[in-house]
Amino acid sequence: MNSSEKTALRKPYSRIYVEEAAAGHPRTAQILAKFPESVVIPIGDYKNVFNRPRQPVQLQKEAPSLILALQKPPYLYAGPAVCQDFGESHFYYTSNVMNCPFLCDYCYLRGMYPSGDIVLFVNTEDTFCETERILKEHPLYLCISYDTDLLALEGITGFFGEWVGFAASHPALTIEVRTKSSPNVLNYPVLPNVIYAVTMSPEAVIERFEHRTASLTARLRFAKSIIESGRPLRLCFDPMLWVPDFETVYGEFFERVFSEIPGEAVKDIGVGTFRIAADYLKRMRKNHPCEVTAYPYTLTDGVYGYDAERLSEMLSFAKAALTKYVDEKKLFFS
């Protein structure tokens, strides 16, 4: 073994755990076919791998394994209070995937999951079935890229394409797909009930805290392609992080975004600062000590965030800056 081999992590997705119940599913075969070199390990239940104690989450995130499994009910969840509902009265989310290929320092998934591996639930048909059941009761606003970045994994899963097809035949369903990637989605049909939500951050923040995500330039290019093709675009300035020279960094950033994206063409905008459940932050500080997790946040009602004075400064600044470009009614703060 030479020295370079010694220091090299395994390749991402070089190990694929397959739940026995999922082994015969056609999507499992489709996904495995994309990784002919990977070691495939049969498992009884995905939790036996994903929930192992004391896992090296950070290293796993850098070179994750895939875990192919069958999702069990419930398939849809009511949206949590700390997340924006954008005025929608029936806000739900679903997770066909657990974990994300990106390595954002502030991501709550680092505190929520005990593993950096990525679980793909191959039985999307069961989620669609449950969604149809709920749609019989009322319209539905559903976030489909919640505990992951679905578009970033589309080349592996094809799940987003399935959701677009489903949304095309269910107009009472509105789906939001949020991303920090910059894929080409122009092959999918243009639908008013498929909202593309692009998380935007200053380039300095992306480079420092949002590892492996698309650059600001790439995200802006993606956002422009969404607008120009007539698709609904949501911009997400969330989470905003406090950084030295905050007003300069974010002021120049907003200016750049709206020099390329016409404010009137944007469906709406989500704005928020970093906030996280206390239990998650505690785990993140242990597993992934970094500038974001070590910040001395203030605890309010079980949620850590910036102290009231700093929070007010950040949100006031954002509101004043953004209303230069968009109607205030399009802004949703959390």
């Binding site: 010694k6 220091t7 192992r52």
Partner: protein, 292 residues
């Protein structure tokens, strides 16, 4: 520090020799130690393995950065591989309970990978043949269907070790010695030792390579730790205050590099230990300075 586990002395001998270990106690098993490594000679079977490893980890408590390595012989179904083949284990099934365990393999291994079942009695040749196709002979767990190798300690070592070692720091290497034991046959001890000697250099190279890249550095430098300790004393800090001071030192380190100089300078401005109320006021000042 590397913690080796072997069941038999014939398996242990090359490791003891390589690290020039000396006997270091043990009532359940036998422990050998040197400055670089510990070896636990567990004896045969899962009960002996769990007991001996527990005892050794009590006698020589491991640090979070240490590593557990199980080296030993195993049985394989005829036709699975040649005798003398070494494999790295990625799945261990406890045949008695059907539970599965998954050592994390974060770095490419020079060894072929395989699954293993830990059994309580040596596998007969007929059982090994059956396990190659169904797994039913070693476990009621359906997930054991892919299990092809068998030993008598690994699952017990994993279950005991997981309280002390994270999954990427538990390495299981097995050399195929037989294809099921026929009645009345015994393995030649010198053959077992030779089998271990053959693989040991590669195993050590792989283990040391992994150790060298796994994270082991604390966030705060020694100088920063000293500064934090000094500041805590000066502020008459409670446990909660000390936690906050450490967090600020970590934040400062990530944002600006080593926090030692900044904290030393702050401490230098304080004359003697202050009462806690004043300490809290100074802590608030420190917080503002760190976030500025």
């Amino acid at each position: 520090m590397l913690y080796f586990c072997t069941a038999l002395y014939t398996e242990a001998a090359p490791v003891i020799s390589r690290f020039q270990m000396k006997p270091a106690g043990g009532r359940i098993g036998s422990v050998y130690a040197s400055d670089e490594a510990i070896l636990v000679l567990t004896g045969i079977g899962p009960v002996a393995a769990a007991g001996a490893l527990s005892e050794a980890l009590t006698l020589f408590p491991p640090a979070e950065t240490d590593m557990l390595i199980n080296i030993g012989i195993c049985g394989a179904p005829a036709g699975f591989c040649e005798a003398g083949t070494w494999l790295r284990i990625h799945k261990i099934t406890d045949a008695a309970t059907g539970r599965d365990f998954y050592p994390e393999i974060l770095f490419p291994s020079v060894f072929r990978e395989a699954a293993l079942a830990t059994v309580s009695t040596p596998m007969k040749a007929s059982q090994e043949a059956a396990s190659a196709t169904s797994g039913a002979s070693v476990s009621t767990s359906a997930s054991a269907a892919s299990t092809v190798l068998s030993d008598m300690e690994a699952s017990a070592l994993y279950q005991t070790g997981q309280a002390f070692f994270s999954p990427e720091r538990m390495l299981f290497y097995k050399g195929v010695s037989d294809f099921g034991v026929s009645e009345g046959t015994r393995l030649n001890p010198s053959d077992v030792t030779a089998l271990i000697e053959k693989a040991l250099p590669d195993i050590l190279s792989e283990a040391e390579g992994i150790l060298s890249v796994l994270p082991s550095d604390p966030v705060l430098s020694e100088a920063a730790e000293t500064a934090v300790t000094k500041l805590c004393k000066l502020l008459s800090a409670s446990v909660t205050m000390e936690h906050e001071i450490r967090l600020l030192a970590a934040y400062r380190t990530f944002r600006c590099g080593d926090a030692a100089e900044f904290f030393m300078a702050f401490a230098a401005g304080i004359e003697g230990p202050v009462v806690r109320r004043e300490g809290k006021r100074l802590l608030e000042q420190l917080r503002k300075d760190c976030l500025a």
